[in-house]
Structure formats: C-alpha cells, structure tokens
C-alpha cells in the first residue's frame, strides 16, 4: 500500500450510544476527534435504543408480528424489517455528522459490500467487497454503515440479492469484519461502560476496567454472560490480528485494549507472564434447570443416556453441564425449554432387548418418573405397559429437577495447569452457604451451577476472593 494510504479506524456505536440526540452528539465527537487526528473513520451503528424504543429492533419485529399473531412472518420479510432499525440509525447519525460540518454518507450493509449467505436471521458473512468504501474514504466521506446486516448474492429473481441480518452480536461482527476488510489500524467498540470489566458493575461495586486482555479472554467472558464484545467479533479480530478496543461513548477514559496473547504477555509491567495464568473476571449468565435421572447401576446405562440425548436433540432442547456418574445422568437445560424437556422425560420409555442373558426377561423397559407430582404421563403409561408387555422387566428411573438455577463462571486462562482453582471457588461459595450443584470447566473457565437467588452474593464473593485480594 502507498504511504499515503488512509489510516482507517472503524468505530462502532451501540444502541445506548445513539439513542438520544445528546448521546449521538457525543458519539459524533468521537468520530470527529479521530478524523482530526488524521484517521479516516468508518462508523458502524446499531439500531436506536432498546426494548420498546420506537425504532429498536424488537419494536419493528412487533409491528410485523402484530399483523396476525397466529402467522409467523416469513424470514425474508423479518430480516427486511429488522434491518430498518440500523438504516434509520445510520441515516440519523450521518445527518448528525453533516450538521456538524463533515461529509458523511449512510450506507446499508449491502452498499458497504457485506455479502452473506442466505441464512435469514443468523447470516454468516462470506466476504466484503470494500471498493465502494475505499472510494468514499478517498473522496473524504465518513461512511456510516448499518451494523447487523448484509446482503446475499444476486439470485435468479432478485438483483441485487436479499437483505439479511447477522443475528446476535451482529453490529460488533460488522465492525470487526469491516476492520479486517479495510485493513483498519484498529476497531473501537463504543458502549456505555468504559471497557471490559472484571465483573458486572451493577453487582460488584469494585469491578475494575481491564487495561488489556486477550481475544480469547474477551470471547470467553462474552460467552459466559459479560456483555462486552460479541464473541463472533472477537474471533474475527483474533483470526486476523486486528487490534480491538472497548471504550465508553460517555467518557474519555482509554478503555480496554484487546490483543493476541503474545502481544499481551510481552507488554510487561503489570501484565507480562502473569497474564498467562491470571483470573480475568467473574461472569454470570443463564436461567437453567438442572435435571438428574437416577438410573442406578444398571447395565443399560449408556443406552439410556443416548436415548435421552437423542430425544432432547430431536426436540431442539440444548443440554449442558452433562455429567456421567455410575448411578445417574445429569444435565442442565435452558429454563425456557424446560417444559419441553419435562414433557419428554415424564413417562419416557427406553426399551432395551436383553440378548443372551440367561434367566433374564426378553427385554427391560426403563420408564422415567418425575418426582414431585409431575408424573402424569408416567402414571398413565406404566400400568398400560405392564398390561401389554407382561414378558418384560419394567424399571422406574426417578427424575428430579432443580429449577431457578444459574451459572457463575470464573474466567481464568490456563487454570487446568494450576492446582486449587476449583477448591478456592468451592470454598468461597460453600463458606457463604451457597450450594454448588455441579461444576463444568473448559480451557478458559470454571463454571458453577448455583441457585439464581445466590448469584449476586456469589459474584461479589468470588470477585473479592480472586480479584481483589
């Protein structure tokens, strides 16, 4: 590239940064500051406001759904209406910049060259054709691109293609992707907090802002519930080594720099080697139900497990915190899907043929019995089963559920190489009378399933123990 190539800076502003004129003015000043500092800013905006605001995405969806609540809108139309929120936002933001004396132009995702697959509602960016953006930048414009959307390739009927939306975290993803395609010097994600926090500041007063963290850490925190940068955006930045910053629209604090682990560990000072083994933060997420099936020590346990997983998969129920034990199977399901899981399990029968077993009945039928009065199907099916299948053994599998659970996670790089991480977490929680129903760990985090009513205390105590001492 020529030495005179523009230094492109992608700046993304979320819903709370563009929801009111005074906030848009603050956001616009960040753009102007970058322009005056010699950068060529490319702005990405989310829809204006959230939750019921007139042009928020959920409000627009409601307009369509209200046409006839019994008839779900077609995915094509749904994506078109969802994309309107960002279109309005980009137009208003571009005009804001124009009123401040700057050349700005609003662009849809398609106009910005974002090409996606045709998976409406959750499209994947396939490529970005950045020539139009480069021409506008060369001409001195500040492009204001709609986040969260793209366009499919033209097909036999539609020229040029259909509008698609990128699904959750779509605007962050747009910003990261544009950063890569435009070879930006950095991507700045502006939000209403001043960077990546060590915990949810609404729960932990002493939550501090991290100066630097790795792409992996920020992706893990986001997955575990911290609302910072969407993991998709972090992954794109990581794969292409684009520097990412999380900053506040409402302050001039430096924010959090997100970089690769080599760069982070070589920074020295407070970071260096210690970053490879540090606890980054405490996150919490999810409303889940923990289900335990008491199979006992039966020979067909693996078959029962497979059938349970199969039933859940066929019904679209995601399961996690899966645990094998010699006498039981346990797993968690999202609370929203629990009624489906409960209906599936109540009275569910797993028939297993007893082959070549001397003296054994022809088959064993395992039937699930919910405890606590939730066993209507069991009560109907068991007598029927006994009457029609006298030659089989029928074994009850009691099922219990702990409702109102949630997941609290400690984000800790390389914790699997450090003894005592779970001991510290377990001790901190149980000393405070918080029951840990189950644990799960990955390479970057340790998670505990606890009661939702304990979440605030759990996050506070873990933060105090692991990040303040």
């Amino acid at each position: 590239m020529s030495l005179l190539s523009p230094r492109i800076l992608v700046q993304k502003f979320g819903g709370t940064s563009v929801d009111r004129p005074e906030n848009r003015a603050l956001a616009a000043r960040k753009v102007i500051k970058a322009k005056n500092a010699g950068f060529s800013p490319v702005v990405v905006v989310s829809a204006i406001g959230r939750n019921g605001a007139p042009y928020a995405t959920d409000t627009l969806i409601k307009v369509l759904r209200d046409v006839d609540p019994q008839v779900p809108p077609a995915p094509h139309e749904m994506d078109m209406i969802m994309a309107c929120g960002e279109i309005i936002s980009s137009v208003v933001f571009a005009h804001t910049l124009q009123t401040m004396g700057y050349k700005a132009i609003a662009l849809s995702g398609g106009q910005a060259g974002i090409i996606t697959n045709p998976e409406f509602g959750n499209a994947r960016i396939l490529e970005i054709r950045p020539n139009a953006l480069h021409k506008l930048i060369e001409a001195g414009y500040i492009p204001v691109v709609c986040g969260f959307q793209g366009m499919t390739e033209p097909d036999e009927i539609l020229e040029p293609g259909s509008i698609t939306t990128l699904g959750r975290g779509g605007s962050d993803t747009t910003a990261s992707a544009l950063g890569v395609a435009l070879k930006a010097v950095a991507v700045e994600i502006y939000t209403d907090v001043d960077g990546v926090k060590t915990a949810d500041p609404s729960l932990v007063e002493n939550a501090r802002t991290l100066d630097i963290c790795t792409y992996e850490e920020v992706a893990e925190m986001a997955h575990q519930g911290a609302k910072v940068v969407h993991p998709r955006a972090a992954e794109i930045a990581m794969d292409h080594n684009i520097p990412l910053w999380v900053k506040s629209t409402f302050s001039d604090l430096p924010g959090t720099r997100i970089a690769n682990s080599e760069e982070s560990t070589s920074t020295g000072g407070d970071y260096g080697e210690s970053m490879r083994y540090r606890t980054t933060g405490i996150a919490h997420t999810g409303k889940v139900v923990f289900i335990r099936l008491e199979t006992g020590e039966v020979t067909h346990k693996s078959e029962i497990e497979r059938q349970v997983y199969r039933m859940m998969a066929e019904a679209g129920v995601n399961i996690y915190f899966v645990t094998f034990s010699p006498t039981s199977i346990s797993f968690a399901v999202p609370r929203s899907l629990y009624p489906i899981a409960r209906d599936l399990l109540d009275g569910m029968i797993v028939p297993v043929r007893n082959e070549n077993q001397v003296g054994a009945k022809r088959a064993t039928y395992y039937i699930f019995k919910y405890e606590g009065g939730l066993d209507l199907a069991y009560r109907v099916q068991r007598p029927l089963l006994m009457s029609v299948e006298p030659d089989v053994e029928i074994v009850d599998v009691p099922a219990t559920a702990i409702e109102n659970c949630t997941v609290v996670s400690v984000i800790a790089s390389n914790h699997r190489r450090i003894p005592g991480v779970l001991m510290t977490i377990h001790e901190t929680l149980t000393k405070a009378g918080i029951t840990v129903y189950q644990t799960a760990d990955s390479e970057m985090s340790v998670s505990c399933l606890i009661s939702e009513s304990d979440v605030k205390r759990a996050v506070q105590l873990l933060h105090e123990r692991l990040l303040e001492q």
């Binding site: 960016i125 794109i236 399961i319 010699p326 190489r417 779970l422 990955s442």
Partner: protein, 180 residues
C-alpha cells in the same frame, strides 16, 4: 501509482464456519473417582471441600471435575496419578483410578445454542467402541474422556460424523512441561 487513484482491494473471506470445526486430542490422561464418606463430614459440601483441599495440598491440577452424591470425579494428566494415589492414601480417601485415557475435545462455535451435537458425539463413540468415562461441555467444546486404545477409532468416527479432514485434529499437551 497516483495515491488518489482508488486501489483495487481484494475481497476478504473471513468469518469462521459454524458447527464443529476442529478436534483436539490430549494423550496420557487419567481419571479418578474419589469417594466422599458421608458419615465423616457434617455436610456433603464439607466432604467435597476436604477432598479438594487434599488435592490442592498435593499440587495436582485437575479438569472435568464433577460433583456426585458420594464422590468427586476428575481428569488429570497421567504423570500426576502416583501423586494423587499417594495423597488419597495419606488422607484415608478411597480412590478408584483409570490410566491410559485420552481427552478428546470437539470444538464448535456456539455449542450451547446448538442441539444434537452431544448425541452425534455419543453415536460416533459407540461406533468406535470407545467407552466414555466422563464428559464436559462449554460454549465452544464438548470434552470426552475415552480409553487410549480407542483414540484413533474415535477420531476417525468423529471426523466422519462432522465431515472434518484429518488436518482438523490437533494434538495438545496438558502439562506445562510438555508444552515446552
């Protein structure tokens, strides 16, 4: 070239494929079932804590730690097994161990928003005649502890199930010494 002439920038392809994209395998892994004698402790949590402390005192890093009514189970690098058995004997804790295992980690984007991955893995392992000793899951992975001598068969079946090339299988060490 005139710096004002717009450059032709090549189109960029970048966002990761969704679904299972890689399998990580770690060899020389062990599994331990450590009993909690419910009568020896005032509460189950106290029993769990006693055990976790004993493991910490012995400086044994663990993973796939699961809490059960009468035991804790965990995976560990095989090199730590003698240390664990020694620590458990010292504390009078009954332990059942299994060595020669492999940890297979199936990696996917947005695992917890996708149903059916667990059953696909389970079917692949059955086809490979690989017994599953423990499993764990996170937003981007499902981890499976299986017998070492079924590792190759399991990897083949998993690659077949998720349409992966052999190059998608990555070997990864567990202990820092090995990493270096």
């Amino acid at each position: 070239m005139d710096s004002r002439t717009p450059q032709i920038i090549p189109n960029v392809t970048f966002e990761r494929e969704r679904g299972v994209h890689a399998i990580q395998v770690t060899h020389d892994v062990a599994h331990a079932v450590m009993a909690i004698d419910s009568e020896a402790y005032p509460t189950h949590a106290a029993g769990v804590q006693f055990l976790l402390r004993a493991l910490n005192d012995a400086q044994i890093p663990l993973f796939l730690i699961k809490l059960h009514r009468t035991a804790i189970t965990a995976g560990l690098a095989g090199v730590y097994l003698p240390k664990l058995e020694e620590a458990m004997a010292r504390e009078g804790i009954r332990v059942k161990t299994r060595r020669d295992l492999s940890l297979i980690i199936v990696k996917a984007a947005l695992m917890r928003e996708t149903s059916g991955v667990m059953v696909q893995i389970s079917d692949a392992l059955v086809a490979a005649k690989a017994n599953l000793f423990q499993t764990g899951d996170s937003h981007n992975s499902v981890q499976c502890l299986i017998e070492a001598d079924r590792t190759d068969a399991a990897l083949n079946e998993l690659c077949k199930t998720f349409h992966l090339e052999a190059s998608a299988v990555i070997e990864s060490p567990l202990t820092e010494e090995r990493a270096r």
